[in-house]
Amino acid sequence: MSDEPIAHFEAASTIAVVVSSNEPLLFLSADQRVIAASTSFCRAFEIEPATIPGRPLAELGAGEWALPGLASLLRTTASGSARIEAYEIDLERPERETRRLIVNARTLDDGDSARVRLLMAVTDVTDMRAEARLKDDLVREKAILIQEVQHRVANSLQIIASVLMQSARGVQSEEARGHLQNAHHRVMSIASVQRQLSSAKAGKVELRTYFTQLSESLGASMIADPARLSIAVTVDESSVEADVSISLGLIVTELVINALKHAFPDQAQGRIGIDFHSAGKDWTLCVSDDGVGLPTGEAAPKPGLGTGIVDALARNLDGEIEVSDAHPGTVITIRHRAGARRPASRPAAE
């Protein structure tokens, strides 16, 4: 018996379709002889096309396709009781790297029910799997690295905070102590962002949590009697980029420190409000107090370090500062309007 009779019965178009398949494909008889193989199959698994027709699958190449599990599954597929979907095999060849293959097989449905033939598609996923593993490793490594960096940053900030804290306790001058304490608050304000970021998704900082933490930390260190002075945070669902949040946090820190220091010289009670809301790219930040209000005329203090920082940061965020009297107290509003840049930040030619 030669191989010819088998091939003879197949429609030339069927054979042509199999041979030209982009995906490695075998066309098998029910007894697992190869009727035709795609060129892509021959190329991928280094088998001479001329040797293929009529040969049993188990004898292809150097016999590397003689896999009992695969043969048994093809048998059940041929009998119609199963269909191979994504069956994984390891193809081992001498002096070749083992390839991980995914096999899909089904009977050919061409209306000829008397003669069963099988289509077996083979996908080599070795490289894909290796890539996926590499990617997983990289993702894991990156997570570890980020954790390590965050830990280091937190420790470095702790060192700075410790130095400032200790210096503040050590100095005699009330003014110097105030400056050192403020510096300490600023460091803590940046540290809160860092902490927020470590639990945030995609580098965005959720402002409500951040401002709440910030106000708690400022309150804990600056408010001696929480029954007298309080800080209320009203923030919508806004999340902003990390660098924007650092600027906003520092602005809030400065304004709250200012209010705590100057707004309530002898009030029985006082309340500071931190308010932020956004619509699209526009946002508004308000820090208000119900204290003594703005000093006027000669009594107005020169703008200190605090307002200088607020000015610079607000400008950097393309925000406009408005200071108004709230009767009682003061409201400082910083408004950012998308596209509306302050002329001062983009000096035009005269």
Binding site: V153, Q158, Q166, S217, S221
Partner: protein
Amino acid sequence: MLNGKSVVLIVEDSPIIRMSAVDLMESAGYVALEADCADEAIRLLESRNDIDLVFTDVQMPGTMDGIKLSHYIRDRWPPVKLVVASGKAILEEGSLPLGSQFFPKPYDGHAIADAIGRLLAEEAH
């Protein structure tokens, strides 16, 4: 207690942070002892019986980190109070012994002093 003052042991490998913590504890009116690693802390705990509270960092060189140290202390000296600080923002829940207090770094000195004050006050009851 030593001469009516609570004794706080600070375990921290960074000398600057440790110095500042010692200063913080002393200005709060406590006696401050220092150790730069868990092994040194255990030596101190073994050599004296007046330590009321241990304030420890987590990441430290040596055979034990701060989490292991806090468990070791809880098992061996159950009455000693524990305060743990770490640069890792989120510690796995339940990784610290019951009753210990955790602070992310950088911590605020006032917050730490308040927490320690509260823990030590519990002891009086």
